[in-house]
C-alpha cells in the first residue's frame, strides 16, 4: 500500500522526466541519422565520421582519463574521510561541514579553483609573498593545463562530499558486533575489514563509482571553464560541433551523444544487476 502511494506521488515528475528524456533521446537519434530531412537522406555517415575522426579519438582518451582518475581519487579520499568521520565521533555539525561543497554548483566550483590556483590566484600570491617562489608565474600551471589538473581538482572538491554522503549511511547501519565476532575468532583488523566492512560498502562503492564516472565523463561546464584549449574533453568538442556554423556538424555531435548514452545505459544496467545480486546474497547472510 505504501509503495503504491509513493508511486502515485512520483508519477507526474516521472512522467515529465521520462517523457522529456526519451523524446530528446529519440530526437537525437533521428537527427544523428540525418533523418530530419527525408527518409531517403538517412545515413550512418555521422557515426562513421565520428568513429574515424582523430580529434574524437583524442578527446575520448582524455575524457576517459579524467573520468577514471577523478572517480578513483574521489572514491578513495571520500572513503577515507568517511571512516575518519565515522570513527572520530565528531559532532554531527562537523560532519555536515564535509557536505558543504555539495551546495555549490559545478561551474562555481570551477571558478573557486581558478580563484585559488590560477597563476594570479591566491595560492601562488601567498607563495610569492612568503618568498617560496620569485614570480607568481613560477607557480606550476594548475588551471587550464594540458594534463587536466584543474578539472581533477574541481571534481575532487565536488565529488568527495558526494562519496561521503553515499557511504556514511552504510557505516551507520553497520553492525559493530560482527567486527567483535571476527576479533574473538582470532581475526585481525584486515580480516575484520574483509569480512565485515567491505561486503557492507561494496555495492554502494560501485554504484557511486558508476554515477561519478558517467557524470564526469559527460559533463560540459567544468572542462569548458577550467580546461585547456587542447586536449578537449568529449563534451566540450560535442558542444562546439553542436553550435558551429550552419550546424553542419550537428549530426556528428549528436552521434557522439547517442553513443555515450548507449554505453552508459548498458554500464548502469550491468552494474545495477550485479549490485542487486551482491545485496541479495548479503541479505541471505552470505553464501560462503
Amino acid at each position: 500500500m505504501r509503495v503504491r502511494k509513493a508511486y502515485i506521488w512520483l508519477l507526474p515528475s516521472l512522467f515529465l522526466l521520462g517523457f522529456l528524456s526519451f523524446f530528446s533521446f529519440f530526437h537525437g537519434v533521428w537527427q544523428s541519422l540525418h533523418l530530419d530531412g527525408s527518409w531517403s537522406e538517412g545515413s550512418l555517415s555521422a557515426y562513421r565520421t565520428v568513429l574515424t575522426d582523430e580529434r574524437v579519438r583524442e578527446s575520448l582518451g582524455f575524457s576517459l582519463y579524467i573520468a577514471f582518475l577523478s572517480t578513483l581519487i574521489s572514491l578513495i579520499v571520500g572513503w577515507l574521510l568517511t571512516r575518519w568521520l565515522y570513527y572520530s565521533c565528531l559532532h554531527r555539525y562537523a560532519k555536515a561541514l564535509a557536505w558543504l561543497p555539495m551546495l555549490v554548483p559545478h561551474f562555481v566550483a570551477a571558478y573557486v579553483i581558478i580563484l585559488f590556483f590560477s597563476q594570479s590566484g591566491w595560492v601562488p600570491s601567498l607563495f610569492f609573498h612568503a618568498g617560496v617562489i620569485e614570480d607568481p608565474a613560477d607557480f606550476p600551471a594548475l588551471t587550464q593545463d594540458r594534463s587536466g589538473v584543474g578539472i581533477l581538482l574541481t571534481y575532487m572538491w565536488k565529488e568527495v562530499p558526494f562519496v561521503i554522503l553515499m557511504l556514511l549511511p552504510a557505516y551507520v547501519e553497520m553492525d559493530e558486533r560482527l567486527r567483535m565476532v571476527v576479533y574473538t575468532l582470532g581475526g585481525g583488523k584486515a580480516a575484520a575489514f574483509k569480512e565485515v566492512e567491505w561486503p557492507q560498502i561494496k555495492p554502494i562503492f560501485f554504484e557511486t563509482a558508476v554515477i561519478l564516472f558517467a557524470f564526469t565523463f559527460a559533463a560540459f561546464e567544468v572542462p569548458q571553464l577550467i580546461g585547456a584549449s587542447d586536449p578537449q574533453m568529449l563534451a566540450v568538442l560535442t558542444y562546439e560541433w553542436f553550435h558551429q556554423g550552419l550546424w553542419e556538424r550537428r549530426p556528428e555531435a549528436l552521434a557522439i551523444m547517442m553513443m555515450t548514452t548507449l554505453v552508459f545505459l548498458l554500464l548502469a544496467w550491468g552494474t545495477l544487476r550485479w549490485v542487486r545480486g551482491l545485496r541479495y546474497r548479503m541479505m541471505k547472510g552470505g553464501a560462503k
Binding site: W9, P12, R55, S120, R146, S229
Partner: protein, 422 residues
C-alpha cells in the same frame, strides 16, 4: 479511517497533477494571435504604438558586457515604461542559444515564442534567416529607421555578407581595437608584424581568446587585411574552402610563429574574452582587445581595468561590423517589440548609448539626419581617453568579411595552431 486516507491521497495527487494539467492547456492555446501579427506590417504607426501600450517585451540578449546591461536596465527600460507604458524585460542569453531555442520552437510548432526582441549579427543572422526564424521585413515600418537610418548603406545592408532585407534593424556599430597597459607597453604594436616582434620581446604578456569566441575569431581573421593588398578580393570570397586555399598558409604560419611567445607559451588560450579581460585586469598579460572601441572606458572608470589602459588600432585594417535587433517569427508581442526597437533607434537613445559611463558605443544614425542641437550634443560627449579618435577609426576601418570566414577560422585554428604545436 480508510476512507479518510483515500480522500487525502486524491486531494494531494490532484495538487501534484495540477502543473501537468497546466502545461497541457498551455500547449493547447498556441495559435490565437498569429493572424493579427501580419496585419501589423501593414498597420499605421499609431496603431502599433496603441497596441504596444501596457505590454511586456522580452528582450533576449548576450549578457557578457556590464556596460551594455546597465544601459538597458537603467536607461532604456525606465524610459520605455514611462513614455510608452512598455515594460522591457532583459533576459541574458547567448545569441546562439536564442537561435537554438527558436529553432526548437519552430520544430515543435510552437506559435507562442519566448522571445520578443533579440540582439544578433553575423553567423547567427545567417542561420536565423536560412531557417526562417525571423518575422519579416519590419525595418522600414519603423519611423526612426525611415528618418535616421540608411538601410542601403553597404555596411548596414549586408551583415557579414548576408543581405539584411529589412529582417533586422541596425542598433550600433563597432570596430576592433587593441587595449594595452601603458605602464608596461611603451611602444604599442600597430600591425600584426609589430605585434609578433613585441611578443618575442615580452614573452608571456600577450594572448587572444580562442576563435570559438566572437572577439577571438575577429582577431584571427583581421590579419587577412594586413596580408593582402587587395581588400576588394577578400569581400568576394564566401566559401570556407576558398578562404583556406587563398589565405590559409600565411595566416596559420603567422599564428604558429606567434604561439610560443604567448601567455602560457601558447599551450592554452583563454576560452572567452571575459577570461582574457580577467588576465588583463590581474596584469598577468599586458593587452586585451575588444570588438567595440569604447568598451574599456567604463571598465577603467570602475577600476576593473588598470588606470593606465590605452587603445591601439591596427593600421592596415581594423574590422568594423554592425549589430542588429530583430523580431522572431513567433514573438508574442510584435507590436511591443516594434515600438521598443523604434525607441532604441531614437536620437536620444542612440546618444545616451554613446555615453562611456554606460555602454560607450557608436551610433548607427546618419549624422546628417540629426538636428543641429542633437549634433552638438553628440559633439559634446567625451568618449574618454581609452577610445581612439573618430578620424583614426575611419582611416583604419575595413568592412567585415563574409560569415564563411568565421566558419573557416573555427574549423581550422585548433588543428593548425594548437594541436600542431603540441
Amino acid at each position: 479511517m480508510m476512507n479518510e486516507k483515500r480522500n487525502g491521497i486524491n486531494k494531494g495527487a490532484f495538487l501534484v497533477y495540477l502543473p501537468a494539467i497546466f502545461l497541457f492547456s498551455a500547449c493547447a492555446q498556441e495559435q490565437d494571435e498569429d493572424e493579427s501579427a501580419d496585419d501589423l506590417l501593414e498597420a499605421g504607426w499609431e496603431e502599433v504604438v496603441a497596441e504596444a501600450e501596457g505590454t511586456d517585451v522580452r528582450f533576449h540578449m548576450w549578457g557578457g558586457d556590464e556596460g551594455t546591461n546597465t544601459y538597458i536596465d537603467e536607461w532604456v527600460a525606465p524610459r520605455l515604461a514611462e513614455e510608452y507604458d512598455i515594460y522591457l524585460e532583459r533576459v541574458p542569453l547567448d545569441t546562439e542559444e536564442v537561435v537554438q531555442r527558436l529553432y526548437t520552437e519552430k520544430q515543435a510548432g510552437e506559435g507562442a515564442g519566448s522571445t520578443d526582441v533579440f540582439w544578433l549579427n553575423g553567423e547567427n543572422f545567417r542561420l536565423a534567416k536560412e531557417e526562417e526564424l525571423l518575422w519579416g521585413a519590419f525595418a522600414e515600418r519603423l519611423p526612426n529607421v525611415e528618418e535616421y537610418v540608411d538601410m542601403e548603406d553597404p555596411d548596414v545592408a549586408y551583415d557579414f555578407g548576408t543581405a539584411v532585407e529589412g529582417l533586422q534593424v541596425p542598433w550600433g556599430n563597432v570596430q576592433f581595437t587593441l587595449f594595452y597597459n601603458d605602464e608596461h607597453v611603451t611602444d604599442p604594436p600597430a600591425t600584426y608584424e609589430e605585434l609578433l616582434a613585441w611578443a618575442k620581446e615580452n614573452p608571456g604578456r600577450f594572448t587572444y581568446p580562442e576563435p570559438q569566441d566572437f572577439t577571438g575569431n575577429a582577431f584571427v581573421r583581421q590579419l587577412i587585411y594586413e596580408l593582402t593588398p587587395d581588400t576588394e578580393e577578400v569581400l568576394t570570397i564566401n566559401d570556407p574552402n576558398e578562404a583556406e586555399e587563398r589565405y590559409g598558409e600565411e595566416v596559420w604560419s603567422y599564428f604558429q610563429e606567434l604561439s610560443p611567445h604567448l601567455w602560457r607559451e601558447g599551450e592554452t588560450y583563454p576560452s572567452s574574452l571575459a577570461e582574457l579581460d580577467q588576465l588583463f585586469a590581474n596584469e598577468e598579460v599586458w593587452m586585451t582587445m575588444g570588438y567595440n572601441e569604447g568598451r574599456a572606458e567604463h571598465l577603467v572608470q570602475n577600476e576593473t581595468f588598470p588606470q593606465a589602459t590605452e587603445s591601439q588600432l591596427f593600421e592596415q585594417g581594423s574590422i568594423g561590423n554592425t549589430h542588429y535587433l530583430s523580431i522572431p517569427y513567433n514573438a508574442q508581442n510584435k507590436a511591443g517589440a516594434m515600438a521598443a526597437i523604434n525607441f532604441m533607434l531614437s536620437p536620444e537613445a542612440q546618444i545616451a548609448k554613446l555615453d562611456p559611463a554606460m555602454w560607450g558605443e557608436s551610433m548607427v544614425l546618419e549624422p546628417a539626419s540629426l538636428s543641429a542641437e542633437e549634433q552638438e550634443e553628440v559633439e559634446a560627449i567625451e568618449r574618454g581617453d581609452t577610445v581612439p579618435d573618430e578620424k583614426e577609426l575611419n582611416e583604419t576601418f575595413e568592412p567585415e568579411m563574409d560569415a564563411s570566414f568565421v566558419d573557416w577560422v573555427e574549423q581550422h585554428w585548433i588543428d593548425e595552431v594548437v594541436r600542431e604545436s603540441s
